[in-house]
């Protein structure tokens, strides 16, 4: 579609909702990622793996490993699966990488578009609901095996705390209490988070907890990568606080990963969760 030196088409001037995705669906439906059919043959496409998120009074932390797999092959070592969705929220993606990355791009434009048209950003719940409806559009492809499972987290300015939302392929949206993980290594990450999560954690501790959980996921799930010290490829970590979303830079993550790996040299299974002497039930 070319726009150069042409008057704005009538559709651009027509009154409509503030949703970019709805606008795209009516004016350029072929641009939407979900309006394609994969046929009935099983497809080999790159898959992104584990994303973890946890919340606290400070806001929320999200971290994702860097591996994409295609069957038993590592498709990419340094894929990015955690993104800032807007100023105060983050999105992480697991599942078919190509569709997931496109979904993130659409979601980012959707949030920015609303903010520009309406003059105010959507509420965190509003953002979470928009993501659910975008995801619902992918149900057809999900049925063919090309599913995308996002994890959404952010700082809720109205409530003054971090919040986490998980999704299923049908667009079901569920708010999680303290922590959550998605992707192939999610079970191991969740087990780890269950033992290590502390509601009163500082941002620093929450970041370390997320990195420990990813390490545990990589430990038991072949599709999740641990920190790659040789190539200096580390998980992507995002933090959402009242000041906004910040993705930690590589050296910052490295400085947190190094002591974690050093500690695992003596305790390969990770930190001791601190059960009292004689058991917890006494």
């Amino acid at each position: 579609m070319s726009f150069e030196f042409r008057a704005l088409p009538a559709a651009f001037l027509a009154p409509r909702s503030a949703s970019f995705a709805d606008f795209l669906a009516s004016t350029a439906p072929a641009s939407l990622p979900q309006r394609t059919s994969a046929g009935d043959q099983p497809l080999h496409a790159a898959h992104g793996t584990t994303i973890v998120a946890l919340r606290g009074d400070f806001g929320a932390v999200m971290a994702g490993d860097r591996r994409a797999t295609m069957g038993n092959v590592i498709a990419q070592r340094d894929i990015e699966k955690v993104f800032a969705a807007d100023d105060h929220s983050m999105i992480g993606i697991a599942g078919t990488a190509g569709i997931a990355v496109e979904l993130v791009r659409l979601f980012q434009v959707e949030l920015e578009h609303y903010e520009k048209i309406e003059g105010v950003p959507l509420s965190l719940d509003g953002k979470a609901n928009r993501l659910a409806s975008l995801l619902r559009g992918n149900l057809g492809l999900a049925m063919q095996g090309l599913s995308v499972v996002p994890l959404f987290a952010g700082y809720d300015i109205d409530r003054g705390r971090g919040r986490i939302y998980s999704y299923d392929v049908t667009g079901g949206r569920y708010e999680e209490h303290d922590f959550y993980a998605v992707g192939s290594g999610a079970f191991f990450a969740r087990g780890s988070l269950k033992k290590l999560y502390r509601a009163d954690a500082s941002v620093d501790l929450a970041v370390t907890t997320a990195l420990e959980a990813l390490y545990d996921a990589a430990d038991d799930d072949s599709a999740t990568a641990g920190p790659d010290m040789a190539r200096r490829i580390f998980p992507i970590v995002g933090v959402a606080t009242t000041d906004g979303v910040r993705l930690l830079d590589e050296s910052e993550v490295e400085s947190r990963v190094a002591p974690l790996i050093a500690a695992r040299m003596t305790r390969p299974n990770g930190p001791f969760a601190g059960m009292p002497e004689g058991g917890s039930s006494s």
Partner: protein, 229 residues
């Protein structure tokens, strides 16, 4: 049998232009200026919710005077065009020039083809990596585009304000210098007699070239009051 009066095309165009000019002249003025770190928009606008200045895209801002529903329509169309373009290609492929062209075509078509022209005047500003790359496009109700250098004034008192700007504005002014100048000129020429405009009567925003990605930011009224004190 009644004969319709003949009205020459020149007369029709002239009547439409006069009509549009009158509508625009009724409105309060807006000043857009380049400063050393970006582009400053200052509008006399007591409303908190109905903006005359808005963000279109990462490096592009929009300012308008005239009839609110008409320029709001153009603004929304511009946001749609820019977001669509950025989503289809890349964020870097969204330019002020192509947006100004689309607006010019649209305004030109509306002016010639509809009985009532839009009573609006707009500025599309794009901030560059350095001051030399900054672009200011001024678009009038008939679709004319002018590529302005340094500053633009629009609205009821545009001419007198432009004259003052031509002597008082110079390259490399700071944000504060430009802000004071704009507030002073709007107060002096923008209404009946000389007034001192406070933060509550102004809408101010900048395209700040030092910010990453989205360069547009509003200067909220409490902060503006501090700056003007």
């Amino acid at each position: 049998m009644s004969m319709p009066f003949y009205v020459s095309p020149e007369q029709i165009i002239k009547d439409k232009a006069d009509y549009a000019r009158k509508g625009i002249a009724r409105g309060r003025s807006v000043i857009v200026q380049q400063f050393d770190q970006g582009i400053l928009f200052v509008a006399e606008n007591p409303s908190r919710a109905l903006h005359k200045i808005s963000e279109i895209y990462d490096r592009i801002g929009f300012a308008a005077v005239g009839k609110y529903n008409e320029f709001e329509n153009l603004r929304v169309a511009g946001v749609r065009l820019a977001d669509m373009r950025g989503y289809s290609y890349d964020r870097r492929d969204v330019s002020g020039r192509s947006l100004a062209n689309a607006y010019a075509q649209t305004l030109g078509t509306i002016f010639t083809e509809t009985p009532k022209p839009y009573e609006v005047e707009i500025v599309v500003a794009e901030v560059g990596a350095v001051a030399d790359d900054d672009q200011l496009y001024r678009l009038t109700f008939d679709g004319s585009v002018a590529d302005e250098q340094g500053y633009v004034a629009m609205g009821g008192s545009a001419e007198t304000i432009s004259q003052s700007l031509s002597t008082q504005w110079h390259e490399g002014m700071t944000l504060m210098e430009c802000l004071r100048l704009a507030v002073d000129l709007l107060g002096r020429f923008g209404g009946e007699g000389e007034r001192v405009l406070g933060a509550n009567e102004l809408e101010v925003a900048v395209l700040d070239r030092t910010r990453p990605r989205r360069t547009f930011s509003r200067i909220a009224r409490p902060r503006l009051a501090e700056l003007l004190a």
